[in-house]
């Protein structure tokens, strides 16, 4: 047990770090509240955010143990077996108990869950024998299935499974025996505190990963899990590192685009963007086999290098070369119908690329600006300090930070509107969306420009008024756009091309 305590201490240390972070952000909260009291109708908190609880590893351990004990008391089996059972039922206690009560044969139910052996071989009379694993003649022991091995081999087996196999659900040492080993047995053999700590971590990880109401915070090294009441693709906030992410896909919150389209979009961006940019600018395709060709000099009489194709064509009009005859240096066959068809096919594929790049460039543009907003935070911080020296109180100057917060949120939203718009089918709905997008974009750029340029030229009283007016307007535009998207989603009015 002492080992366990060490393990927790390690975590409680890190959680006190987390509390420091919390303190800072709580201050933020106070500032925002006072702003609200002064008449700010909106803050940066996502309206869609689901109620959630940020849990440390310690919280998770307590919760997991409580659930296990509840079930153990009812079903009457050891806590270790209960953990396996609950794991099988994705930690849905109610559905587990329901099935348990429905089952006519409790043992068959437990066998099915790999908690009891499917077939137990007969227990030998003497517990001294040849260990099948190390071949020593010694005292042997086993699980309920009576597959025997010596203590040393059990220990090595479990330790290897924990450290190399990365799993807390370990099967019996015998091949083809699917019986899972309960925690009590595992801990009986595994005594090394380091490996025990790994095992506890694996248990917690398995608890979070199989539980539909829990997700790890995606921030590296944060180590907290977020618990919700109902699993939905909506934003949650990690109270510890202040990361807001989508509970559906663990990616940063990406409204208005949904998880499925975002995934498609990210994949597309990874696959295409840079290469297609270059291809678009520098190459044409063979009109017959569509091989991409870069022309780096020479005349317009092209012969496709593709050995299977070898089509001869004109670089200018992409028509067959034959009718060009002697006028090889100057294509005058523009209206030739073959060439026209070849060009229109090519134009279509170009147009698709152009379209993609249109959205991609704007998506990337906002992402880039969002990164640069980190610099703006620093500028604003200096300005806030200046203002405090001049007569304003700490609370009074917070409006500037708030403005940058709003700006960042708008950039993020705009970014994802381009992923959304890329897949959107063109109709009346999408045109209204584009108008909303345009309005938000313009307002965002104005706020951005003001914060970048005009901070120094204003006197303090008018500055505060202007900044507040601007960010309220921008945030208002953002809410309108998101509301419109949400309503469309509820009525299932959006039509996508993917």
């Amino acid at each position: 047990m002492a080992d366990d305590d060490d393990y927790y201490e390690q975590y409680s240390n890190s959680s006190s770090d987390g509390e420091d972070v919390d303190l800072v952000s709580e201050d933020d909260g106070i500032a925002m509240e006072s702003e609200d009291a002064a008449g700010v109708s909106n803050n940066v908190r996502e309206s869609q955010e689901i109620e959630s609880r940020t849990m440390t590893v310690k919280d998770l351990t307590v919760e997991m143990r409580d659930t296990i004990n509840d079930v153990a008391n009812i079903v009457g089996i050891s806590p270790g077996m209960c953990r396996i059972l609950l794991h099988k039922f994705q930690w849905q206690k109610e559905s587990l108990l329901e099935r348990y009560y429905e089952a006519t044969n409790a043992d068959a139910f437990l066998r099915q869950a790999q908690v009891l052996p499917k077939v137990a071989i007969e227990k030998p009379i003497s517990n001294i024998g040849d260990c099948d694993v190390c071949c020593d003649t010694t005292q042997l022991c086993g699980l309920a299935c009576n597959h025997l091995a010596c203590d040393t081999c059990w220990k090595s087996y479990l330790e290897t499974k924990i450290t190399d196999g990365n799993t807390s659900e370990i099967q019996c040492i015998a091949s083809n025996c699917r019986l899972l080993i309960e925690d009590e047995k595992v801990l009986h053999y595994v005594t090394d505190p380091k490996i025990r700590a790994v095992y506890e971590k694996l248990q917690i990880n398995s608890y979070v990963e199989t539980n539909r109401l829990l997700k790890w915070c995606p921030t590296a090294d944060c180590g907290r899990a977020i618990k919700v009441q109902q699993s939905e693709a909506r934003p949650v906030l990690c109270e510890s590192c202040r990361q807001r992410f989508c509970f559906g896909c663990s990616y940063e919150w990406h409204e208005p685009v949904n998880c499925r389209l975002l995934k498609l979009w990210m994949k597309k961006c990874q696959d295409d963007s840079e290469t297609s940019n270059w291809i678009n600018a520098n190459t044409k395709e063979c009109p017959k086999c569509n091989a991409t060709i870069e022309k780096d000099g020479g005349c317009n009489h092209m012969t496709c290098r593709n050995q299977a194709c070898r089509t001869e064509f004109c670089w200018m009009c992409l028509g067959a070369w034959e009718p060009h005859g002697n006028s090889w240096y100057n294509c005058n066959r523009f209206d030739d119908s073959n060439a026209k068809n070849a060009r229109s096919a090519q134009e279509q594929s170009r147009a698709a690329l152009q379209r993609y790049l249109h959205f991609y460039n704007r998506y990337m543009g906002h992402q880039q600006s969002l990164r640069l907003e980190a610099k703006l935070y620093a500028t604003v911080k200096t300005k806030m300090e200046q203002m405090q020296q001049q007569s304003m109180s700490w609370i009074e100057v917070q409006f500037l930070r708030k403005a940058v917060d709003v700006l960042s949120e708008c950039r993020r939203t705009l970014m994802y509107t381009y992923a959304f718009a890329y897949y959107l089918k063109k109709d009346n709905q999408s045109m209204i969306f584009e108008d909303n997008q345009k309005d938000l974009e313009m307002a965002t750029e104005q706020l951005s420009e003001f914060l970048e340029r005009d901070l120094e030229n204003e006197n303090l009283v008018t500055l505060k008024q202007k900044v507040q007016d601007k960010y309220r307007y921008v945030d208002h535009r953002r809410q309108i756009l998101l509301k419109y998207c949400r309503e469309g989603q509820e009525k299932e009015e959006w039509e996508f091309n993917a």
């Binding site: 190390c134 071949c135 099967q171």
Partner: protein, 151 residues
């Protein structure tokens, strides 16, 4: 002697005194330190590989039997089989995820013979060309996906 060598010694003894049908145990089957073995297996009667002889190479790490041995076909005759690549690598779950210390050289050989026996067609996996060009020399470094339990 460490437990790994003791176990290998015992397995070698058992295999050479009473080799099961289909496994041929010659004198120089194992290297002096027992860490590398070459075992010959014979295709079972009534199957596509009837009478054919293949050589299996086993390599053991000091963690054996807790970690799986590295097993592959070597020599001139590599069986054409949907789970055997032309470089000798074998896609078999008990050699990776499903390995347990209770398995042995003998049980691996028998599993491979039975895997050969259930083949309906003599050909390498569809991704053979690309796999052979890109894989690690050690088959245990490959992350196998076991998608076909019928063969």
């Amino acid at each position: 002697m460490d437990s790994c060598s003791r176990r290998l010694m015992k397995e070698l003894q058992q295999l050479s005194t009473e080799p099961p049908t289909g496994i041929i145990c010659s004198r120089d089957i194992a290297s002096d330190d027992l860490k590398q073995w070459r075992v010959e297996v014979v295709g079972a009667p009534g199957t596509l590989y009837e009478g054919e002889r293949f050589t299996l190479q086993f390599r053991f790490s000091p963690q054996y039997p807790f970690s799986s041995p590295e097993v592959m076909f070597v020599g001139q005759n590599i069986p054409a089989h949907p789970h055997v690549y032309s470089n000798g690598h074998i896609c078999l779950s008990i050699l990776a995820d499903d390995w347990t210390p209770a398995l042995s050289v003998q049980s691996v050989c028998l599993s491979i013979i039975s895997m050969l026996s259930s083949a309906k067609e003599k050909k390498h996996p569809i991704d053979d060309a690309i796999y052979v060009r890109t894989c690690n020399k050690n088959p245990n470094k490959t992350r196998w996906w076991f998608h076909d339990d019928t063969v």
